[in-house]
């Protein structure tokens, strides 16, 4: 038997023995836990009270970290570019090529792409960093602090700024205003509204089609923001439930052991695929909307 098979078999053995031992110790009875509210994991308690809606909370902290990380990492790498790149520079150059060639140049003409590449690139990197730092446990959970020697330390928790609807909504609003503005600037208000109607539709049918296309513009706002928000929220929620939340909620100890491998697998899936994919989708759709707003034929 190869070494890998032995390790896998050992892990499976630990898994099943763990389940049996937990059932033997704690039994198989369900005791609902009324105090644990999973939705509170996503509540943003104000940490520093500021006037109006400007409170400093964990979502703001995550946004700040993501913004600083985006600027600093990229400026740092850009300042020490070398003719013979090391591994990090190669990775960033691949990312740059993806943003420039695939996302921007693939969806709009050259003049537009030169103008809007910085925006699309920043959007991609910012969402990417926001998603990724959302999977690093940070001491943000002030609801259940840990007491160590009289000090109150917030518990480590995972949370992402993009798991809060307002952040993707603001990003989507910026994109929405940008592409409508660009379309009106290039074609004029009348021309832009007329270009909403697909070519080849004549006569009275243009009226309902125009109404539908006009409304679908606003639906883009909704779908763009809810797609990112819901993906990240559902990812965090399912990681929470699979890695122990369900066991606490139902008071059924064996579930904690049973669902842990699923939790680890889902965590890897979210980090490896969903975080990058959602940033890519957001940037690509923004580029498609921007390109479509100025394109000659719809």
């Amino acid at each position: 038997m190869s070494k890998r098979n032995k390790i896998l078999l050992g892990l499976a053995g630990v898994y099943f023995i763990g389940i049996t031992v937990i059932i033997a110790i704690f039994g198989f009875t369900r005791r609902d836990n009324e105090e644990f509210a999973p939705q509170n994991e996503f509540k943003t308690d104000p940490w520093i009270d500021l006037p109006g809606p400007l409170d400093f909370n964990k979502a703001v902290m995550y946004l700040l970290i993501a913004g600083i990380l985006t600027v600093l990492s990229m400026v740092y790498i850009a300042n020490r570019m070398q003719a013979r790149p090391n591994r990090v520079q190669t990775a960033v150059e691949t990312l740059f090529a993806l943003m420039r060639d695939n996302i921007t140049h693939g969806n709009m003409d050259d003049k537009m792409a030169r103008k809007w590449f910085p925006f699309i690139g920043t959007l991609f990197l910012f969402i990417w960093f926001s998603n990724l730092i959302g999977y690093i446990p940070l001491p943000t959970n002030t609801e259940h602090p840990i007491h160590i020697g009289g000090l109150e330390i917030p518990a480590f928790a995972i949370y992402a700024a993009t798991a809060n609807i307002s952040v993707p909504l603001v990003l989507a609003l910026v994109v929405f205003i940008a592409y409508n503005f660009e379309g009106i600037r290039v074609k004029g208000l009348r021309g832009y509204l007329a270009s909403l109607i697909p070519q080849g539709i004549t006569g009275f049918a243009r009226v309902p089609i125009f109404a539908l296309e006009f409304l679908s513009n606003f639906m883009r706002l909704l779908s763009l923001s809810v797609r990112l928000f819901a993906n990240i929220l559902a990812g965090h929620l399912i990681i929470l439930f699979m890695s122990g939340g369900l066991a606490v909620l139902l008071g059924l100890e064996v579930l904690g052991v049973f669902t842990l491998p699923f939790g680890v697998a889902l965590f890897l899936f979210e980090v490896g695929l969903v975080a990058t994919l959602q940033a890519f989708i957001f940037a690509t759709l923004s580029a498609i909307y921007l390109g479509g707003a100025v394109a000659e034929s719809h």
Binding site: N102, R227, A230, Q278, F280, I281
Partner: protein, 92 residues
């Protein structure tokens, strides 16, 4: 009269509360469960078509891959619309 009505009203409203709880659970189940059916079929079709087209034209692989992930994410998002609607109904 009021003495008679009060227990009746409380039972009726207790029933209504239980019904509301059941409705929330149903909303979450339908939103998550039925949403997953549609998105599952869609994602299956996307990956099936990708395999088909890559076996036909292997030289198009890079171009198809980027379109594949776009389609995958757009389809997957439809599941999350239902799930989030269910969660909103359940928790709020």
């Amino acid at each position: 009269m009021l003495d008679l009505l009060l227990p009746l009203i409380t039972t009726v409203f207790a029933q209504a509360d239980a019904g509301a709880d059941a409705g929330r659970a149903i909303a979450l189940g339908v939103g998550g469960g039925l949403g997953a059916v549609g998105a599952g079929v869609g994602i299956g079709i996307i990956f099936g078509k990708v395999i088909e087209s890559v076996t036909r034209q292997p030289e198009m692989r890079d171009e198809i891959t980027s379109i594949q992930w776009l389609g995958f994410a757009l389809t997957e998002a439809c599941f999350f619309y239902g799930l989030v609607a269910g969660l909103i109904a359940f928790f709020l």
